[in-house]
């Protein structure tokens, strides 16, 4: 598994001319487990943390490294290693049809048309989307769109997959399909989620509150800590 390292990381959002508002701070982490979950309340810094992993956000202080690469200095190389799934798959789908969207991420990678077609067919079969190959992406169900977004990321063979609240728009059946899919992935996975059942069998769970990690443990203990935190407020 690629090693994720946070050293003294903080990030401030600029607020007018008066300075910054800290969103995350004092992050010192070394993550090399297979499946890592991030939980916490709204505005606790979870999504900022996730976006730092593929250099969508770079820290205002400290260093984030993925597999030895500094996200602030090697953003392009980092993004080749780190795939990112957004909460709303509609924002992530770029091409009009299912197969074209999966193939989109392979442009500029120097692959032949034959290689691209093989990879697209393989990943569509893996995610049960082969029958929707030429369908307009916007006509898929919410669950199918999320699977398409996941397929479009995984076709580029990232080493690390980051998912920001992937179950928010899904019903129970599609959540289960996604959970089984994530469970079977060989890639390292970091999932930001409010769905505590979804992350129940993960290897490690970080609990965020007020921009910092307040608990770092196995799922059962981390969830218990998170519930106690919510009840104490």
């Amino acid at each position: 598994m690629p090693l994720i390292e946070f050293e003294g990381v903080a990030h401030d959002y600029v607020v007018g001319a008066t300075g910054g508002r800290p969103v995350v701070h004092d992050l010192d982490l070394r993550l090399d487990e297979h499946r890592i979950a991030v939980i916490g309340g709204n505005g606790s810094g979870k999504s900022t943390f996730a976006r730092m992993l593929n250099a969508l956000i770079v820290p205002t202080s400290g260093t984030v490294r993925v597999d030895g690469l500094d996200t602030a200095k090697d953003a392009r190389a980092v993004r080749r290693k780190v795939g990112f799934c957004f909460t709303d798959p509609d924002a992530q789908i770029v091409m009009p049809t299912v197969a074209e969207d999966v193939a989109f991420g392979l442009r500029r990678r120097g692959l032949s048309k034959h290689e691209i077609a093989e990879r697209v067919d393989s990943v569509l079969s893996r995610f049960g989307l082969a029958g929707h190959r030429d369908h307009p992406a916007h006509l898929l169900s919410g669950g199918q769109k999320q699977l398409l977004a996941l397929a479009s990321v995984l076709v580029t063979t990232p080493q690390l997959l980051v998912m920001d609240e992937p179950t928010t728009l899904l019903d129970l059946a599609n959540t289960r399909i996604l959970a089984e899919t994530v469970r079977d992935l060989d890639e390292q996975v970091v999932v930001v989620s409010h769905d505590l059942e979804f992350i129940a069998d993960f290897d490690r769970v970080l609990v965020f509150a007020d921009g910092a990690v307040v608990c770092d443990d196995k799922p059962a203990l981390a969830v218990r800590h998170y519930r106690a935190l919510v009840e104490s407020r």
């Binding site: 392009r76 924002a91 500029r108 307009p136 992406a137």
Partner: protein, 201 residues
């Protein structure tokens, strides 16, 4: 609400199998050729030709109608104006030429995968790399433009539904503002997604 406006309609017809570059070249030629559509009779013949191409491509009437329907209001206004200032013959010629050209452009996107269109644009614009033009970026813009049609149509339908649910009467401002805000937010999120998918440069 769903829309089939300008989206690929899978098929195996000769129009589908024709190279994207040839279809785009013929579309450009047709745009230039509208100069010779100087009478209502010629517009009629051209309309028959366009209808024949749709039939050859086996595009259902419902899908074909969806391509020109969004133009109707604008064309009625334009037609009325032209009738007043230049007479009904000129109105038929101008409105007819615009509608036929839009229908032909839609036929190209209905019968050509976006990837093929993008590849053609990238290939044709390739020589411009020497003067600083990035053909991949222009191809990406084309793809995003085609993809944006159903997305923005979906936003418009949701905004209308929200207005109805709140009992609001039809108000252009109350419709346009949330539609623009949602579209801009979507564009922002899609920018992040493009970055995440490796299109940062």
């Amino acid at each position: 609400m769903t829309t089939s406006l300008g989206l690929f309609h899978p098929g195996t017809s000769i129009v589908h199998r024709a190279p994207a570059g040839l279809k785009l070249a013929l579309l450009v030629a047709a745009a230039v050729g509208t100069h010779w559509l100087g009478s209502p009779a010629r517009i009629g013949y051209a309309a028959l030709g366009v209808a024949a191409l749709y039939a050859l491509a086996r595009i259902p009437v419902r899908v074909a109608w969806a391509q020109v329907r969004p133009l109707l209001v604008l064309m009625v206004v334009l037609g009325a104006f032209q009738t007043i200032v230049a007479g009904w013959r000129a109105a038929v010629v101008i409105v007819g030429a615009l509608v036929l050209l839009a229908a032909l452009a839609a036929l190209v996107t209905l019968t050509t995968r976006t990837t093929a269109l993008v590849d053609t644009v990238v290939r044709v614009l390739g020589p411009l790399r020497h003067v600083g033009v990035d053909p991949e970026r222009i191809g990406l813009l084309l793809a995003l433009g085609i993809r944006a049609v159903p997305v923005v149509a979906g936003f418009a339908a949701e905004v209308r539904d929200a207005q109805r649910a709140r009992g609001l009467t039809a108000s252009p401002t109350a419709f346009a503002v949330p539609l623009i805000v949602r579209s801009l937010r979507h564009a922002d999120a899609q920018g992040d997604a493009l970055l995440a998918r490796g299109f940062e440069d």
